[in-house]
């Protein structure tokens, strides 16, 4: 065969076959080993009532690590910001109050702020390697309260946790180019990439290192405090612990008040029928995935703030809630459907306040279905 003429190089970064083999071998080892070694050298302190801090919500690598750190006997409470506790501090969440009442069981807050069923599905499939565990899965009917919440509106929306969405399923409100969709898929499947996101989220304020070096402080005129900093000095190998005194959450915060005091009024909800809902379909698939992995699931439905529903949309809500119950009964999935809480215990349509969570935990403990589902005391 004729030898092709040589191509001109203007640098010496020209690897031959042997060099490539060495380079690829080094890269494969680095890519494989770095996230694994990192888990050993990075301090990750998990206290009682630990929940993934708000600013680390998109660190799915850390979420996976958090789940791996739980004991196989722990009961995981999985869900969106209702489980996580949007208006409350860690010791005001559902898992905390369940834990308080449970004598031998330990309930773990496995909720993430900003999730919704379509994102929970992605999280469970890719970052929650749960097998043979007892899991409480929260079903928040808020995500079926309108075509917009169900991501069915045919216009682009700013979507939280978009990287967890099914990338090649039609979701009308999710608009992303092929590159974004493929990079989300790759991040899910290559641990090194989710570890890179962990670095960015945990140490560089959700930014890439170049963006972090250029970040301004928000003042006018802006200052650039990181310009001369060594990025490596940011990596202190310690995952930030949630601050005990969160001004945005808890009884002391101005947000922690009944919805009736926020100026909100009963609202008409354009409920999406169960059979047409994308979020419900995702919820059902999540149940399938978790059950297929041998997990024992209990679904907690709501309780949605029915006081906020205008009378004209109440009937559709009841139909929807009954539809969920029927589905769970049909597939013999244990569930609890606690009754609606008093109006003053809700902060909005779906999030209880601290006392609301306390009452909800009490209701669950009083529910025979819940008690029956719990592991037998040894």
């Amino acid at each position: 065969m004729e030898k092709p003429p040589d191509i001109q190089f203007v640098n010496e970064v020209r690897l031959n076959g042997r060099n490539w083999i060495v380079a690829i071998a080094i890269l494969v080892v680095l890519l494989w080993a770095t996230p694994r070694v990192w888990k050993r050298i990075e301090t990750f302190e998990i206290g009682a009532d630990y929940r993934i801090p708000y600013q680390l919500s998109k660190d799915y690598w850390l979420y996976e690590r958090r789940l791996q750190s739980t004991s196989p006997q722990d009961i995981l409470v999985l869900g969106d910001s209702v489980v996580w506790g949007e208006y409350v501090i860690p010791d005001g969440t559902l898992s905390h109050f369940l834990d308080q009442r449970g004598s031998s069981q330990h309930f773990v807050n496995a909720g993430v702020n900003g999730l919704y069923p379509l994102a929970i599905e992605g999280l469970v499939k890719n970052f929650a390697p749960l097998r043979n565990r007892k899991i409480i899965l929260h079903c928040n009917l808020l995500w079926m309260s309108s075509p917009k919440a169900d991501l069915q509106e045919n216009k682009a929306q700013q979507i939280n946790h978009a990287r967890l969405l099914p990338q090649f399923q039609k979701i009308p409100s999710y608009r992303a180019d092929a590159n974004e969709r493929l990079s989300a898929l790759i991040e899910r499947n290559v641990q090194f990439m989710s570890w890179v996101t962990h670095l960015q989220v945990t140490y560089f304020n959700n930014k890439s290192i170049p963006q972090w070096t250029l970040a301004d402080d928000g003042n006018d005129p802006p200052q650039y405090p990181n310009a001369y900093k060594n990025p490596l000095s940011q990596i202190n190998l310690r995952v930030p612990t949630p601050s005990g005194d969160d001004p945005e959450r808890g009884p002391k915060s101005s947000r922690h008040k009944p919805w009736t005091q926020t100026g909100a009024a009963p609202t008409h909800f354009d409920w999406v029928p169960l059979e047409k809902s994308l979020q419900w379909a995702a919820f059902a698939r999540t149940l399938d995935t978790l059950r297929a992995r041998g997990n024992d699931i209990l679904v907690v439905i709501g309780p949605f703030n029915e006081h906020i529903i205008a009378p004209d949309s109440k009937e559709a809500f009841v139909k929807l809630r009954d539809g969920v119950k029927n589905y769970l009964e049909q597939y013999k999935i244990p569930f609890a459907a606690p009754g609606v809480l008093p109006t003053e215990l809700y902060a909005d349509g779906s999030h209880p306040l601290t006392e609301g969570y306390k009452l909800l935990a009490f209701q669950l403990w009083s529910d025979p279905a819940f008690r029956q589902w719990l592991p037998v005391k040894r």
Binding site: I7, V13, A178, N179, L182, F192, I209, P210, L214, Y228
Partner: protein, 524 residues
């Protein structure tokens, strides 16, 4: 589709294996053409018609030229192809005129222009004139460029002139000429594929290359995907022969191509995109920036554009090399140039040689005395500046380079400059001058550019807050280039050094890349 995005990886994973699998068939060229059209259509499928139109017209024109031999005595007066061409062009002229006035209004401007082109072709066939065919090709390619790239700028300036002269008439937006109300966008890579196609007709006219009879091969030459969007602008005599037979493929194709691609990827993702963040921050609102920030951003832009464009061509050359094709070198460490002439021998080599061969030399080059040489240099650089974009800033940029080339040409005549001035001083001088010209290239308007120059000259020098990491990366590359062109090159050749650099680049890209921004030269 951008080389540094995931969809391109999927594209490559399909295109390359099929291409290699087709090596023993005649289908590899159609496959390459199809892949290239898909690659271009990914950006905007409507504009594929433009590439196809340009291709088919130049292919036809060269075929017709082939029927008009250079020597008129050899012409066959009863050539049936030319007779048919005459009839077809007259018929097409009439048909397009009739359709223009009887058909849809939105098609009228396009059809009228097409009828003019057909009307130009008729005398070519009747007079059996190669020159007319060449003229049609030049007019057509330049008309495409002028319409899509410069019409908006021209109309804007004419309207401003009319307003200044208190004339009430205003030209409409050129977008109204678009057929079927298609959006009036600058087609990506138009300056590159029109120049490549044009070079074929010009070279054939002057007998410098052979006619390509296979249409698919010619179409693939025009739209060959690695270099379609931003070059290097290949010549028919270099690239077309490579498409005659399936290229010999060896391991070295993959190792060399992979090396080029990784270097290009690093330049783009790790360096150009990082620098662009700082440059945009400063140049977005230059009037509020300090002199030092403006100077630093100009320095950063000099490197941004180098990394962006040379990164693209490295990737393009790497991809072509993997398939067994060799694209010409486009950048040769230009910031080590010791003179402006040297700089243009190292920067965007395929474009500067294009202008040298098709503008500077036809104008007379340096054969008609000093004064005319400088006139020719001036015209060539002015056109080169305008080629980059429809803005006065690009024209000034071209003129400044013309002046720079003239000055260094004169300086190099003196023995003192040639022999006594240290090389490093010349290199720094050229670099500083080139940085100064980049102000005009990067600024949004001419007044912004002048204001930036004024602020740098007179302004307050404060802390520019340019990230230390960014500067460190640039200095590391600059130092590498100095080493590469010095005796220290031997040290860089050591296998552990090469492997360490390649591995570090990949790791850096994976951990620190700053998004998938587009390439600067796509807009030209």
């Amino acid at each position: 589709m951008l080389f540094h995005t995931w969809p391109f990886l999927v594209f490559a994973l399909i295109v390359f294996p099929v291409f290699f699998a087709l090596r023993n068939t005649r289908l590899w060229i159609p496959w390459l053409g199809l892949a290239s059209y898909f690659f271009y259509g990914w950006w905007n499928p409507y504009y594929l018609t433009l590439v196809f139109y340009s291709t088919i017209l130049d292919y036809t024109l060269v075929a017709l030229m082939d029927h008009c031999p250079l020597n008129r005595a050899q012409q066959n007066s009863k050539d049936r192809v030319l007779s048919t061409a005459a009839v077809v062009s007259i018929a097409l002229t009439i048909a397009s005129l009739v359709t223009a006035f009887a058909g849809p209004v939105t098609l009228r401007p396009t059809l009228i222009l097409f009828s003019v082109l057909c009307a130009l072709m008729a005398p070519g066939a009747l007079l059996r004139s190669r020159r007319i065919w060449l003229l049609v090709s030049i007019v057509n390619n330049l008309a495409l460029l002028l319409f899509f790239k410069y019409a908006g700028f021209g109309v804007e300036n004419l309207n401003a002139l009319f307003k200044w002269a208190h004339w009430t008439y205003q030209f409409p937006d050129p977008g109204v000429l678009m057929p079927f109300n298609f959006p009036y966008l600058l087609p990506v890579g138009i300056s590159f594929f029109t120049f490549q196609s044009l070079s074929y007709t010009i070279d054939f006219y002057f007998g410098k290359c052979e006619r390509e009879r296979n249409f698919l091969r010619f179409a693939t030459f025009v739209c060959f995907f690695p270099q379609l969007m931003a070059g290097p602008i290949e010549r028919a005599k270099h690239l077309l022969p490579q498409f005659k037979t399936f290229p010999p493929i060896r391991i070295q194709n993959f190792t060399d191509g992979g090396s080029l691609f990784v270097v290009g990827l690093f330049k783009k993702l790790a360096l150009a995109n990082y620098l662009s963040l700082y440059v945009e921050r400063v140049y977005e609102n230059p009037s509020t920036q300090s002199a030092s920030a403006l100077a630093m951003a100009t320095f950063a832009f000099a490197w941004q554009i180098f990394f962006d464009f040379s990164g693209y061509t490295d990737m393009a050359r790497g991809l072509a090399q993997i398939m067994g094709f060799r694209l010409i070198l486009n950048f040769n460490n230009p910031y080590l140039a010791t003179g402006l002439g040297d700089f243009w021998g190292r920067w965007h080599i395929s474009l500067s040689s294009w202008f040298r061969d098709y503008v500077y030399i036809p104008l007379g080059g340096n054969r008609r005395g000093e004064l005319l040489t400088y006139r020719n240099l001036f015209i060539t650089f002015l056109i080169s500046g305008i080629w980059h974009g429809a803005n006065w800033t690009f024209a000034i940029w071209g003129i400044l380079h013309a002046i720079g080339v003239m000055i260094t040409r004169e300086l190099e005549r003196s023995a003192f400059y040639r022999e006594r001035v240290p090389k490093i001083a010349k290199q720094l001088g050229v670099f500083i001058f080139v940085c100064f010209t980049w102000i005009f290239f990067r600024a949004a308007t001419l007044s912004d550019a002048l204001m930036i120059c004024g602020r740098i000259a007179k302004g307050v020098w404060t802390d520019p807050r340019a990230p230390a990491l960014m500067l460190l990366l640039v200095l590391a590359v600059w130092l590498y280039q100095f080493f590469y062109e010095s005796r220290a090159r031997e040290f860089l050749k050591a296998a552990p050094i090469r492997v360490a650099i390649a591995v570090s680049m990949v790791i850096y890209i994976t951990i620190c890349s700053s998004g998938a921004g587009s390439f600067i030269y796509f807009q030209f």
